[in-house]
Assembly symmetry: C2
Homo-oligomer: 245 residues x 2
């Protein structure tokens, strides 16, 4: 199981506070005043470490906290009554998981670490309390939830109207853009997920994912070597995404 680490015990207590976190501009604290930041610090007391393959939560677990990815990489996947299994998202540093659990007080999906990772645990009732006193936090929370709705809708658009090549191109560009926002290279990264997980997320079979990667490589759009990806021609990928209109 994941270890529990109360913040004060941590090596460098400063770096663990939201106010000092280098992800604060991407994450929940974005746009808060110093005072609000201090209150947020007092709320987020626990971080947990997960080894690759460990679950942060499972479908059916009671919901009481949101989880902010502090380091590492997660997938969430939904397991339907009828046994269908689909990856609903990939989550990197600074992103929030668990918003889908609020509606039923249960997590509807599993969250699995795809590499060794670290999460900040955000007790939701206390976050609600705090956001009743801090309008800008309240608004920010609403914006984060709304952003999740918007991004799910753009996945719906992708799944509903794009062909395999367009989906993969959009997927790579999305990853690239999120890496850039975190200060990493926009054109070179390791995929932490398998072809099957990519396929599941994009509504494709793993063989199709593999074939499209090979095709992109032949056309010198990317260089793939297993999980290592270099994007060679971002503009061309963009034209592929916007193609079929």
């Amino acid at each position: 199981m994941a270890e529990l680490t109360p913040v004060p015990d941590y090596d460098d207590a400063l770096r663990s506070a939201c106010s000092k976190c280098n992800l604060r501009e991407l994450c929940l604290p974005s746009g808060l005043s110093n005072e609000e930041l201090d209150q947020l610090d007092s709320l987020i007391r626990v971080r947990r470490f997960y080894r690759k393959g460990e679950h942060a939560y499972r479908a059916g677990d009671p919901f009481d906290s949101l989880y902010a990815v502090r380091a590492g990489f997660f997938k969430t996947n939904l397991l339907n009554e009828d046994g269908r299994d689909q990856v609903t998202g990939f989550h990197m540093a600074g992103e929030l998981m668990g918003l889908d659990g609020i509606s039923t007080d249960q997590h509807p999906c599993d969250a699995v670490a795809l590499e060794d990772s670290e999460l900040c645990v955000i007790p939701f009732s206390r976050l609600e309390e705090l956001s009743r006193e801090a309008p800008s936090l309240q608004r920010h929370l609403h914006k984060i939830m709304s952003r999740e709705i918007v991004s799910d809708q753009s996945v719906m658009m992708l799944l509903g109207s794009m062909r395999a090549e367009e989906r993969l191109a959009a997927f790579l560009l999305n990853l690239s853009q999120r890496m850039t926002a975190r200060g990493y290279s926009p054109s070179e990264f390791y995929l932490r997920m398998t072809r099957e997980e990519i396929g599941s997320y994009l509504g494709l079979k793993l063989e199709t994912v593999s074939r499209v990667f090979s095709r992109f490589q032949n056309e010198a759009l990317i260089a793939v070597q297993q999980k290592h990806i270099r994007i060679l021609d971002i503009p061309k990928l963009r034209t592929i995404v916007g193609q079929s209109c």
Copy 2:
């Protein structure tokens, strides 16, 4: 353009208040105390009527209100930069539209009346104010937003892993269930949208939608006559949805 109707001018002012609305158990007021209901009433002052085809808002319009469907039927659709157009949802009485606008302070999609309809306008800043004072309203708002995330994810699942027949079966069952929740027949209703709009929502071409309806009809699962649908065999539709696992 849509007419503006301040509530006091309305024929029967009582029926227009949330506290007296027959949709209150489905809509925003669900689960509130009487006192909170009164406050909500004071906030929702304007309703608007829309003729079939009219827009409640368009992509790019500034966001400042949520809209609750009081009567009628709406679709929302997203128009991508690259000209792709996709229906992202159908909305019936008691359902909230516009949550996706919070994140950017602009509506990302169009909302169009598919029949003559009526919306309650809910000024979002005032709703936030009120929810700072009424924890149960706050929680309820969060649940509604979360429910939207969950339902978008189940559409992702549908688009990502179901074949045409399963999608249509799931779609019909979903409509049936929502009709039932509103006190209508679970098995007989009018579709307010075209085959093309259904297809757009489900990631299919209109011809495919039409063919699957015909197939269902031949198999005596439904009886279709243009927009009039009777569902004849709900259990069998259910088995179709849960088939491919």
